[in-house]
Symmetry: D3
Subunit: 336 residues, 6 copies
Amino acid sequence: MIIDIHGHVVAPPELYAYQASLLASRGAHGRGKVNVSDEKLMNAVWGSRQGEKKTHIELLNEVGTDMQFVSPRPFHAMHSAKPEKIVHWYTEEANNLIARVCKLFPNRFLGIAGLPQNAEVSPKNAIPEMERCIKELGFVGVMLNPDPNEGVGTPPPGLGDEYWYPIYEKAVELDVPILIHSASCQSHRESYSLHFINEETIAVISLLNSKVFEVFPTLKIVISHAGGAVPYQIGRFMAGRYRTGAEPFEESIRKLYFDTCLYTKDSLELLFKTVGVDRCMFGTENPGTGSAINPNTGMYMDNTKPVIESIEWLSETDKKMIFSETAIKVYNLKRS
Amino acid sequence: MIIDIHGHVVAPPELYAYQASLLASRGAHGRGKVNVSDEKLMNAVWGSRQGEKKTHIELLNEVGTDMQFVSPRPFHAMHSAKPEKIVHWYTEEANNLIARVCKLFPNRFLGIAGLPQNAEVSPKNAIPEMERCIKELGFVGVMLNPDPNEGVGTPPPGLGDEYWYPIYEKAVELDVPILIHSASCQSHRESYSLHFINEETIAVISLLNSKVFEVFPTLKIVISHAGGAVPYQIGRFMAGRYRTGAEPFEESIRKLYFDTCLYTKDSLELLFKTVGVDRCMFGTENPGTGSAINPNTGMYMDNTKPVIESIEWLSETDKKMIFSETAIKVYNLKRS
Amino acid sequence: MIIDIHGHVVAPPELYAYQASLLASRGAHGRGKVNVSDEKLMNAVWGSRQGEKKTHIELLNEVGTDMQFVSPRPFHAMHSAKPEKIVHWYTEEANNLIARVCKLFPNRFLGIAGLPQNAEVSPKNAIPEMERCIKELGFVGVMLNPDPNEGVGTPPPGLGDEYWYPIYEKAVELDVPILIHSASCQSHRESYSLHFINEETIAVISLLNSKVFEVFPTLKIVISHAGGAVPYQIGRFMAGRYRTGAEPFEESIRKLYFDTCLYTKDSLELLFKTVGVDRCMFGTENPGTGSAINPNTGMYMDNTKPVIESIEWLSETDKKMIFSETAIKVYNLKRS
Amino acid sequence: MIIDIHGHVVAPPELYAYQASLLASRGAHGRGKVNVSDEKLMNAVWGSRQGEKKTHIELLNEVGTDMQFVSPRPFHAMHSAKPEKIVHWYTEEANNLIARVCKLFPNRFLGIAGLPQNAEVSPKNAIPEMERCIKELGFVGVMLNPDPNEGVGTPPPGLGDEYWYPIYEKAVELDVPILIHSASCQSHRESYSLHFINEETIAVISLLNSKVFEVFPTLKIVISHAGGAVPYQIGRFMAGRYRTGAEPFEESIRKLYFDTCLYTKDSLELLFKTVGVDRCMFGTENPGTGSAINPNTGMYMDNTKPVIESIEWLSETDKKMIFSETAIKVYNLKRS
Amino acid sequence: MIIDIHGHVVAPPELYAYQASLLASRGAHGRGKVNVSDEKLMNAVWGSRQGEKKTHIELLNEVGTDMQFVSPRPFHAMHSAKPEKIVHWYTEEANNLIARVCKLFPNRFLGIAGLPQNAEVSPKNAIPEMERCIKELGFVGVMLNPDPNEGVGTPPPGLGDEYWYPIYEKAVELDVPILIHSASCQSHRESYSLHFINEETIAVISLLNSKVFEVFPTLKIVISHAGGAVPYQIGRFMAGRYRTGAEPFEESIRKLYFDTCLYTKDSLELLFKTVGVDRCMFGTENPGTGSAINPNTGMYMDNTKPVIESIEWLSETDKKMIFSETAIKVYNLKRS
Amino acid sequence: MIIDIHGHVVAPPELYAYQASLLASRGAHGRGKVNVSDEKLMNAVWGSRQGEKKTHIELLNEVGTDMQFVSPRPFHAMHSAKPEKIVHWYTEEANNLIARVCKLFPNRFLGIAGLPQNAEVSPKNAIPEMERCIKELGFVGVMLNPDPNEGVGTPPPGLGDEYWYPIYEKAVELDVPILIHSASCQSHRESYSLHFINEETIAVISLLNSKVFEVFPTLKIVISHAGGAVPYQIGRFMAGRYRTGAEPFEESIRKLYFDTCLYTKDSLELLFKTVGVDRCMFGTENPGTGSAINPNTGMYMDNTKPVIESIEWLSETDKKMIFSETAIKVYNLKRS
């Protein structure tokens, strides 16, 4: 069984037209909602993505993915928009759409909740939607943005800070993992895609230099995009710990989970070796950044299943863990 | 013949999904474009608007409008968004869509160009698009936002200031009228709809207290929504002029044109009496704010054609001027 | 009997010299007070205004006004000045002067309290002076500025917000009406006079879209300058209510009172027709903006008594209501 | 003969009412002017000052002052007010009033021009008024404020910077001295009166550590209030120069002139000893801060003529220099 | 016996290298500490100062100083640096070094604690270090900076404000005097040395115009550098008090203590006469600003002992008070 | 031969005490200079580093490094400090010290110039020092900080922007490579060490998405710390290029050079495979972050020479290139 823990919903234009309208009116028209039929929704997932030839389902089929976890598109999260209420409205609608897609394709998708975080606003305000998604919509995890400022102004403290404890406390209570994934970026020198990487790097270090896992020993945190720069740059963090005699960094890093959202074999191997196979879960963001065909192989970059399978030193048990077993355990899935 | 000089295009969700995507990515995906078929476009204009029962064309038919001038939805103009390039991209796409709609319904619509204005940026940057729309797309006028800051920060000087001369100069050169119409508003105490009214009030006073019409004697400026508060509050501006002996305000105001975008008979009468029938052109913003059925009459509020026709003291010539003649002259239309 | 509910005191230069001194010293000289004799004060009201030929009393006599309510000149309110204490000192002195003028001309003037509001400061701080003016100085109402920021920075929420409830609560307790009237404006594109109009427009909409009159059913609010743009632009607000099925706007607007501070017959007629004769009270701001002679009539613009009297469709009862009866009721005046 | 080089005009309340009106309207009423008769003006100078028993002339008579140089009240200079034009208008009116007072009392007063400086604006903008006062109004000097920001925001560079050269160049060309005197202060921890002292301290050090007197060898600069803290704290500046071997500070300081605006004998002696008798000119700011009666002597503090006369070690020649000779030379007065 | 109450420690470069490292790393390396041997420390005090020929001890010997109170170099206090923790770390290390120096030279130095004040942060945060220095390190006083903003942004209220009461309360409880001494200055027009003077001037006036000494009658405050400008400019403050009839300023000023940190005889005489000999304590800041040889005398400027001794009108008792007796009393020293 | 291209000078505390003094005085004491004898300097390099047992030379000997390129410690660069001049002074002194060290150890060290960059200031201002170091001091390269804002405010554009062309132009003219290396970081969520990684990631992407190498085809740019996250995350950048058909990213990346400043074998292998052995130069930052002993190996983390030597698939030629040949070519070294 193949579970892809990192996917984002392919929504019809009506969702984003709804978002554009909220941003344009600053909420003056009231909450409204996304008017889209099941047929249109189904079509968006089976229909062709803008500028891509294959549909979401076809792409998953091509990989052989049985089940994908889907959350709202992060770069659309509009976490820095004001007033705060429009962020809540949009996030709720995005989550609702995901819930409908999951219902339409019950054996194909499970929901990861987008959180209505807002710049300069306590993450506490996101908790009601967090609960709604898990308890009412049946989602299996949540996605947390370490920088709701989206690259401007003074960002909130790093994820190791008590500022974020309300989210951790609720995640522990609901027993769901948190996927760390930043959103858009308004800086003139970082695209949102680069911001993902840099924010993940900061997130890993902030968490591992904090008391978060002492305070919340059962907290499950998954770092997107294979941990940003940290597995590659791990030596400098190891040295710091050796110097002070604290817990070796190469052990600390194993408190986190990582997706395998890298698109090259060498990097995947580095990831597995560095953090351990048992801390990695198959994740592709497919369709997404990696959905381009490598002209040398004729395959989509984000079809990393054969890539992982081709790593000789991984045992069958390793691969099973990566492709499904760890996800089943971490996300409390019932074994089908 | 009935010409409605103040309409905004009814676009398919793909336009706004495009906009949402630009806002989300801050342009990191490149310019892209709106992918929408002629069929879908046609459907958007004939198809039902979200939450409204009648289509754009049906609504115009109900009024008896032969020709409507359409511009991008102002509250979607995103003039305060950054980086500037995404405002240009969106505005161009919105204008392109209008051009396609005009071509699909050649006897029904004429284009008014949205301008890619941007907060803290000279209006000069909007001139290439202004030229493209008039010269290449065949539009008959442009729409100017006096507050590209959209209600936050320090707005640019009033429209009477030399800051705006490049736009006036180009409008005179192209011989097209400028429709004054603000866009969205991010203030927490003014909706964009209120901002329209207040900005128009400021615009009229700024223009009439300036040298703009001395410097550009052939400039044609049309104030949306019947001039904001000014016709109603005209007494206080008249008094100011009487005190100093300057040109009477009741004469100055006749340098401007006004649409009739009011939805009550008393107000329309006040407008005609105050600025003169010959300075008014039929305009409804239909479908838009006024597209709600008055339960007392069973008619759409923005169907003001019968309202104007019912004003007894207006002569047939007056009505002709209002409904078409003045627009034909001001917008240089060929008489069909 | 003719009651003019909207007048501002004609003060001797000593009041404004006192203000200038506070602004210059930022209060370093202590509170001090306005030193001016009764004779000088009397002379200011009977003496010639700067640049005008007639005295305040003469102007009222010319109109035939028996009683005028006077408050401090709004554009002098200095609400955005710092430190806060100098605003309190000035406002108290201005109110004191009004109290003295009312005592000197007991059958001619009644006081409306200026409130010592200050930018970025809770309106609560104005309550002690509000009480002093009503309880100790015998004033019959208060004047509230919806924008103590005076056009710069981030203004406080609209008048519908709970932010303002302390003022409403106290007004209800004291059973006095609140005249909504903004003060100066530091924006480079709005004069204070334009700001009046725009702020009144915002005030009306904010109040009528809020729960203020549910929470304070006996609250009496009077909008200056005949409601800004709202009576003229009423159609767009009616449409919004028809669309949602909420209370019709044309009914909601009748929760407010309006002065008749317009200077043209057509506009006055529109006001009466739109909000109802029973919600209008004669008000002229005389002497003030309208105190200029219309060369076509040879009369002061703000002498609107004959204008109102010339409206044929108003009954005698209507006129009585406008000229005195409603004010007597609303302001709890004893019938002389 | 007694010449007091540091006085400020005693103006009637109309000047400050004019100022208050400009500040209140932000110039919306246009320039206007101060309407005050010669009689009233005369009365202001002979009439009693607010809260003081003696008139300006009586106070000068009491001292025995034959001639006083008068400038606008510095704390009223409103240099940080916006828009800039109201500062120009007020300053011009204040200077005009001084010109009228000088004409009314031709043997008693000579004018020192207030400059219309404005925060964040080049001092160049003050030059036309500087020229007008000297060339047209017959003034004998100008007063320069080193901090037109009035204690908030980022002040301009110190007086030693090239930023100020246009003023120095014009002063040299017109051959008039510059009196350094700051204006109001909006800081919450410095009154304007303290700000005077601190700004003078900064001014002296900035000038003496600069190349100003190399570039403008004939420039005449007079420091108000006896140089702030510098004569008292001179040791620390002397030490700095001894350390580097630069020109001794006790010599450098003699490039400046100082008024004697101190109110105690010990301090006056320190001043004379420190900067040299020949660099000091009698100045009292009378009436002003020092116009209070010392209960121990029964005399006004600012009547420092007998105090200076009582300094035994000063020769008659010294005293003559202080009381008149130096001023006659520095200000190019004709010997009467 | 000669006690110099105003000295700053001569530290080895390791202290400042430590500081530079904290500023550079923003604390990322953790607290660390200054690694310097007793030998090096001893050498710094006996060894030659950078660019000066004589050592600290030699300079004191030259003066004849028996005991000096030493605090951290104020201009190095880094009070405006962020994050706050690095200011605490540096201050603690600086105080630790002082404690070590005092121990190495037990009959020569006593410690005055630097306080870890920080811009925009309550002075309360400095209290633990204040207690540590007095109770554990045996220091005899503390040094308070009235402007931890170091000349930028909005400084805290003046020292008369309740904002500072926690420090006063603790000083009273610990029975130690507070030396008022500002730190660095980031303004582009004031060096830190000028800022000292201006801040002391503000401090004296703020304290004497407040209720501080009513609330804390046993509080002992010492003003550095002989009170800034106040003793010299005392007349203007006396006049203000005479005008209102409040406590004469010349009495109020005697609630404070002053050091004699002036370097010229005339100024020292003015100080003694103005505030009274009994409020003055010998202080030189040696080595420091005044450590330059006056070429006219061949003596160090800050060797003011012979200068004071040469003042003929001072009695032997006066001199004793200045040189030791008052300090012994104020600082609770045991008479050796 | 072993050349280490990435080292930073081990300076005596006097350099940092000098820096602390500049930061404290804001330059008020003038430029001054670092007073340190050759003996002390020599000792700093041979003497024990603070908290480390081995000296710089010993550590290099242990590795077997023949020649190291040394630049100022980046986290000490103080690029965001004001006024700008103190940054220039410090940088010059740091470079001077390096020049002296290089002279003292002529066969061991070659200089890389620190540049006096300053926040909000054009990089042009660094060019004179760049020239001085290369032409007069004999340095072989320069170090460029892409974020002189040090993590606060609005950073300059990415390195691909024309903003940086003056530096590139000069580097081409002088024919020296530029080492990209950020400095300190004042953000509360990124240590300077994390900032290095994130800034390098941004730098690589900005450069490779720009026209820099078209405009400057001979420009040589070396990315510190093995390229931040890019080699590990290369897949997402490859996909982006495949999608648009632009030059494959895996080719573009080979326009840059990289040091080998990683401390783990897996990461080093990834680097070599990803960017090509011929683009990598041995670099360790020794002593620095990596100078901690790995308890599992008993070796210093930054002694990566044996690690690289142990990579079996590297040929002898490969290793030669990495250890010296490429550096000799890129830095124009004479073969000794």
